[in-house]
Amino acid sequence: MALDKPYLDVPGTTIFDAEQSRKGYHLNQFCMSLMKAENRARFKAGERAYLDEWPMTEDQKQAVLARDLNRCIELGGNIYFLAKIGATDGKSFQQMAGSMTGMTEEQYRDMMISGGRPIEGNRYVGEKK
């Protein structure tokens, strides 16, 4: 019997559930390794070689190299883990969040200062933007 996943119709949102977590285990654990300064240094010195030490899929590695966070999330990444890549790159959490929205850094920051993304039109897939 299928599991109950009522969150699949929330627009622009991927819920990090047990299935995503299973898919993203090695991707997220790679991110976790960046908590250590020596690993950050090794990753920066040769990203591809460092990624090849992890049993991640080629798609996951490409998504990390491209810093495509939406793709990373689709492939099982979780934002709190992916944030370690951002920290390694010297990016703030706001810069990372903004990078997933198609907005410029400035547009996203301005949106937050004026009260954030409104809920109207953002509850269900297919609603008017």
């Binding site: 969150y7 627009p11 993203g24 883990f81 944030a83 996203y108 993304r117 409104p118 509850r123």
Partner: protein, 281 residues
């Protein structure tokens, strides 16, 4: 006997910690937020508890995907501020209260809540930012703290109902502790925010304020709110609000006194809420 006299609710946004650490609290962006916490800090100074039971979540810091406990109680004598990728925050080491923590663990597990016991753990911004917001930046935290980590990172997270009932079990556990300790329980995280995907930046002021109203007046009904309502209305990370129900469940059944209420948008990507409730008996 020990007693829970008050509960505190607050967001725990990492950028707030960074603003404190980098001395940016007086900047125009941050000033309204820190000003809003002034009454809470004054209350905290005047009502120093013997122990804080602090409900928070770990953000891929102490717990990777190797082990994901739903409810974890910190029973150690101390907890170091974690290195979250930028070096540890320059805040005091958190002193625990192993005796009370062990007592609560024993009592709550006997009440059917299967806690994970943690005897070694670093604590991240989820725990230290609330301490800063409520206590400022002292050389040592004002009292021992029992960290209580809830999984709100990997779904399914515990339901609001489960959290609320757990709070009641914690209330009972504290009340059966022989030493006459004054205990505060804090629920942290939230309010509305989403940090991922094209919908990142979502804020829902109406939801947040209705949540605060109901948390004060009718937590029983609020505890029945399903996960999907949090996700859809308050953003994928807004689900952290279930942790507030643990603190609320630990309060007496009689209506509490509302001592402080504050709401502010934004702190980085997040709506910030702060509430202090005191037991009336």
């Amino acid at each position: 006997m020990a007693k829970i006299t008050a509960s505190v609710y607050t967001s725990h946004v990492p950028a707030i910690g960074a603003a404190i650490d980098l001395r940016k609290t007086a900047e125009p962006y941050w000033q309204p937020l820190f000003k809003g916490y002034e009454p809470a800090k004054a209350w905290m100074k005047a009502h120093r508890p013997d122990v804080i039971f602090l409900v928070y979540n770990d953000h891929a810091t102490a717990f990777s995907l190797d082990i994901i406990p739903t409810f974890a109680i910190g029973c150690a004598a101390e907890f170091k501020p974690a290195d979250e990728g930028w070096g540890p925050r320059p805040v005091p080491v958190v002193k625990g209260h192993p005796e009370l923590a062990a007592h609560i663990a024993q009592s709550v597990i006997q009440d059917d809540f299967d806690l994970t016991i943690v005897n070694k753990m670093d604590v991240d911004h989820g725990l230290t930012v609330p301490l800063n917001l409520m206590c400022g930046s002292p050389a040592a935290w004002p009292c021992p703290v029992i960290p209580f980590a809830v999984n709100v990172v990997q779904y399914p997270v515990p339901s609001g109902r489960r959290c609320y009932q757990l709070g009641k079990a914690i209330r009972k556990a504290v009340a059966s502790y022989d030493e006459p300790l004054n205990v505060h329980i804090w629920g942290t995280g939230g309010m509305s925010h989403q940090l991922q995907g094209p919908r990142a930046g979502l804020i829902n002021k109406e939801f947040d304020n209705a949540f605060l109203d109901q948390l004060i007046a009718d937590p029983e009904a609020l505890s029945r709110k399903p996960h999907i309502d949090y996700v859809r209305e308050a953003g994928s990370e807004g689900i952290e609000l279930v942790m507030w129900l643990i603190a609320r469940g630990a309060m007496n059944d009689t209506p509490p006194r509302v001592l402080h209420r504050f709401y502010h948008v934004p702190a980085s990507n997040t709506a910030v809420g702060n509430l202090i409730l005191e037991n009336t008996q």
